[in-house]
């Protein structure tokens, strides 16, 4: 400011003096105007400079790392925190392409992702990774936006180191897991002790003891519910709740719920009405969690309704299924509505303890709905009743499969790798339904999950699960796809072999490779579907050789195999003949008796294992005597399965299916 004042005095006054002497008014005005102009321009310049300095201060001193990237992808500017985060100096960063910021394998993927989101939403906000000069990969939360500096278009990104947040999340997970177990175990023993005392198992009890213990049991059960609720809500809020999503028929599920609540309706004299669409309506949800949502809402409806009815309504929307639970109860005050989904808020209850609620039901319901990607809301008028509505995502097989495959393809593009996608479809025949949730229960979806786990444990595949199918993806090209498919086939057959006491499972499989079979998720899925072969059919084409010196047994087996659909059966009645036949045409499976004239089964095995062409043909020994495994151990380390005579046909069937 003083500079301006100085300018004012040094220019204005002398100028004024000069012009004053000539005493022309316009001249004086001109001089005054001119000086004011200079004054204003300088003031403006000072303002701009001050602003620039302020912004520079914010930019430089910000705790988060800030980067400016030009439209050509080079880094134009960065702040001090950025240099600290990346462990590089500013000159090392400015002028470099932005790819140096990210781990090489993911750099292009991140850059594309940022572009995509900025184009779509105008903003980017995601957790990604950055790499420092020491090669250390740091997790960051990055927000980016497009802006103009001067006349240049730039992308400004702000990155925050979230390593500590990640660490805390991991600790919280561990804590929740431990607490869950540590809290539940003592509760179980207390509860069971009380239950056994009440049942008389621990000796006679008095009337008064039974009365108190019964109340005690109720309190323990309440405690268990609260703990479960707290753990649930913590997991839900951390977004860490594990949900097994699958296609679920919502109509069937709701009907089942209505049936479960019908007795409660009868007790409380309320009408339970269901308004459901015809047929079935499939949602992609975690069935148990959806039941939990409905149970919470229905429980509340029953608690707050004295007379009238409770209505469960469901309808189809474009991508969602909209469900609602409405009651004719006392309604909720408008001031209380916003608080409704908060934890522990128990609205409008004088008798807080009487109905044993935990105050968590609605927050849990909200968390669960939102974890499915849906929304929940409430409408209510005091005296007129309350209606809770929520939406859940619909199931479309292709959407899920295609998005999983598309994601894999985009990663494959980044890594310059080929991809093979395997689609395995399962069908259960003769499945017994079972009420218990034991993992090897006779439920097709449970089996799908187990097989998926098994495939994932193998380490070579990433997996996604659908209604009756598993999609396994491996980073191999078309040439290796067949081999991988054989591996998958073996794994699944092994599993089915074990499970087949309880159920008959048939499966079909197909595969397609990227980029040879298609460029998009949709194309690949279509190709894999086209290539699908039924395992059962493939098997029936295989060649089986039956070797046994008893002709009646040989014929019996051939007849039986034919009936089972295996058409290509060859037979031999001794070892020599068997080897000759194998030489002519290599079978896919050999059923072999051990005690035969001229050449015993052991010798046959020995010969086969020593010949590269025949060493991997699967063999099933059919023997009346104990198989002396040492006799062929020198030829092969793999166990050779055997079944004893008289032959159990079902067992034989299982083995044949497995070995082919």
């Amino acid at each position: 400011m003083t500079k301006v004042i100085r300018l004012f005095f040094f220019i204005f006054l002398p100028a004024a003096a000069v012009y004053y002497l000539r005493s022309s008014v316009t001249d004086v005005i001109l001089v005054i105007g001119g000086t004011l102009l200079v004054f204003l321009i300088n003031a403006a310049k000072e303002e701009i400079k001050a602003n620039e300095n302020r912004l520079k201060l914010i930019f430089e001193n910000a705790k988060d790392a800030i980067f400016w990237v030009g439209s050509d992808g080079t880094i134009i500017n960065c702040n001090r925190s950025a240099t600290l985060l990346l462990k590089r100096t500013k000159p090392e960063l400015v002028g470099q392409p932005q790819t140096i910021l990210y781990p090489p394998a993911k750099a292009q993927h991140y850059i594309d992702l940022i572009d995509e989101q900025l184009n779509a939403n105008g903003a980017f906000d995601n957790d990604i990774e950055i790499i420092s000069t020491t090669g250390e990969i740091v997790p960051i939360q990055m927000t980016a936006s497009r802006t103009k500096i001067g006349n240049k278009n730039i992308t400004q990104s702000i990155a925050r180191d979230i390593s500590e947040r990640r660490h805390l999340e991991a600790l919280k997970d561990e804590f929740l897991g431990t607490v869950s177990h540590e809290l539940r175990t003592p509760l179980t023993t207390v509860k069971e002790t009380i239950a056994q005392t009440l049942d008389g198992i621990l000796g006679p009890t008095t009337e008064q003891q039974r009365e108190f213990l019964t109340l005690c049991l109720e309190d323990i059960e309440r405690l268990v519910r609260i703990i479960n609720g707290l753990l649930d809500i913590s997991k839900i809020e951390a977004g860490k709740i594990k949900m097994t999503k699958e296609p679920v028929d919502m109509v069937a599920l709701t009907s089942k719920l209505a049936y479960l609540f019908s007795s409660r309706a009868k007790e409380t004299n309320l009408r339970l009405i269901t308004e459901l669409p015809q047929g079935s309506l499939e949602a992609y949800v975690d069935q148990d969690r959806v039941i939990q949502i409905f149970t919470n809402l229905l429980g509340n409806a029953f608690k707050f309704t004295e007379k009238g009815s409770i209505t469960i309504h469901m309808e189809e929307r474009a991508r969602w299924i909209e469900c609602s639970v409405a009651d004719t109860g006392k309604g909720i005050n408008p001031e209380d509505l916003p608080k409704l989904f908060n934890r522990f808020e128990q609205v409008g209850r004088a008798q807080f303890h009487k109905d044993g609620g935990t105050g968590l039901g609605l927050s849990i319901a909200k968390g669960l709905v939102e974890n499915h990607g849906g929304k929940i809301w409430v409408e209510s008028k005091p005296g007129e009743g309350t209606k809770f509505s929520f939406i859940l995502p619909r199931y479309e097989r292709d959407v899920i499969a295609i998005s999983a495959i598309s994601e894999a393809i985009s990663m494959a593009n980044v890594m310059h790798q080929p991809l093979s996608v395997f689609v395995i479809k399962l069908k259960g025949l003769n499945m017994h339904s079972s009420k218990d949730e034991r993992p090897n229960s006779h439920n097709l979806h449970e089996i799908l999950l187990e097989i998926e786990n098994m495939i994932r444990a193998n380490g070579k595949f990433s997996t996604t699960i659908g209604k009756e199918e598993i999609i396994a993806i491996a980073p191999v090209g078309k040439s290796e796809a067949a081999g991988m498919q054989t591996q998958l086939r073996r794994m699944i057959k092994g599993f089915i072999f074990e499970a087949s006491q309880e159920a008959q499972i048939s499966f079909s499989y197909g595969h397609a490779s990227f980029p040879q079979d298609g460029a998009s998720g949709r194309d690949i899925l279509k190709k894999a579907d086209e290539n699908t072969a039924e395992e059962a059919q493939v098997q029936k084409q295989q060649n089986i050789l039956v070797v046994d010196d008893e002709p009646t047994l040989v014929e019996g087996l051939r007849h039986w195999l034919n009936r089972g659909g295996y058409k290509n059966i060859a037979t031999a009645t001794d070892g020599q003949e068997a080897l000759e036949k194998i030489d002519q045409s290599v079978p896919d499976l050999i059923l072999l008796d051990m005690r035969m004239p001229r050449m015993s089964g052991y010798e046959v095995i020995g010969r086969l294992k020593q010949n590269a062409k025949t060493q991997s043909i699967p063999i099933l020994i059919i023997s009346a005597y104990e198989v002396e495994t040492e006799k062929f151990r020198q030829y092969t380390t793999n166990a050779i399965p055997s079944i004893s005579k008289p032959v159990n046909m079902e067992l034989l069937q299982k083995w044949v299916e497995y070995l082919l």
Binding site: R184, T188, E192, Q196, D199, P439, E450
Partner: protein, 125 residues
């Protein structure tokens, strides 16, 4: 092999006792072991009709105990009921692959389920 003798292997002695008293009240004889090692010894000595094996013991991995039981001549035919507090498929699949238990129970256990599973496993034997 006595028809209704059961072996419970669980490092929590109280749980062992509770399971024992529940099962005894339903007509079974029960022996308790509080470690994998003790469990193996008692299994060989007492030759129970079925074994309830806990999977949350710190000193010995339940899978290991299961595999050892299957590999010893004296115990290889005794049906095993796997009791796990963790409802994870991973450990169950691991157990299935290594020693294939005959039945599964999850803690906190439901007394009716317990009796049901024991009855079922003994019937199949």
């Amino acid at each position: 092999m006595a028809k209704n003798k059961l072996l419970v292997i669980d490092d929590n002695a109280f749980i062992g006792k509770l399971m024992a008293s529940r099962l005894t009240a339903n007509g079974y004889d029960v022996i308790i072991a509080t470690s994998g090692a003790e469990g193996l010894i008692k299994a060989e000595q007492e030759k129970p009709s079925a074994i309830l094996l806990d999977f949350t013991m710190p000193d010995m991995d339940g899978v290991e105990v299961g595999m050892k039981l299957r590999s010893h001549e004296a115990t290889k035919n005794i049906p095993i009921i796997m009791v796990t507090a963790r409802n994870e498929h991973a450990i169950v699949v691991k157990a299935m692959e290594s020693f294939n238990p005959e039945a599964y129970l999850t803690k906190p256990f439901n007394p009716e389920k317990l009796l049901e599973e024991v009855k079922r496993v003994l019937k199949n034997d």
